[in-house]
Symmetry: C2
Subunit: 92 residues, 2 copies
């Protein structure tokens, strides 16, 4: 399985990401991973909730992970940023 | 067990909540629940990560939940907001 079933959350409206996730399920993936860092984490949770509650009742939460990543800035300065991964899958 | 071991995340700096969580563990709780809604969810993840990685290596992630809550505004209008609960516990 490649990375095609990974949706990276950025600054677009939540519905853009909801559409992306729904599209991946409709393309035949039985799992879609939603990844976010920093402030986008809230939007990742919104995306997962909207997909499950409004569009795809046949999809459930498989796994959630949180972590910390080190981001290196232009000047070589480093900062920690939280990350989150939400895996959704179609119910068996 | 009462609700004393629940820390609600608002708009203060992350370190305020980190301190609150660390204090509850030092008060003898072996579990602390971090709760957040909407945009504060990112800060809840930051709080959990900073507690685990910087202050209390003896604390681990026990559970994470996401959900949707209905908020009723003053005019009676309703809006959905995502919520998250992160449970940390001391390692056995």
């Amino acid at each position: 399985m490649g990375d095609d079933n990974v949706i990276y959350i950025g600054n677009k409206p939540v519905m853009s990401y909801v559409l992306a996730v729904v599209t991946q399920f409709n393309n035949g993936f039985d799992e879609v991973v939603i990844k976010a860092r920093g402030r986008s984490i809230s939007r990742a949770v919104d995306t997962a909730e909207v997909v499950r509650n409004k569009f795809m009742p046949g999809v459930e939460l498989k796994d959630m992970k949180i972590g910390t990543e080190v981001i290196e800035g232009e000047g070589g300065d480093k900062a920690n940023v939280s990350s989150m991964e939400i895996t959704l899958k179609t119910k068996a």
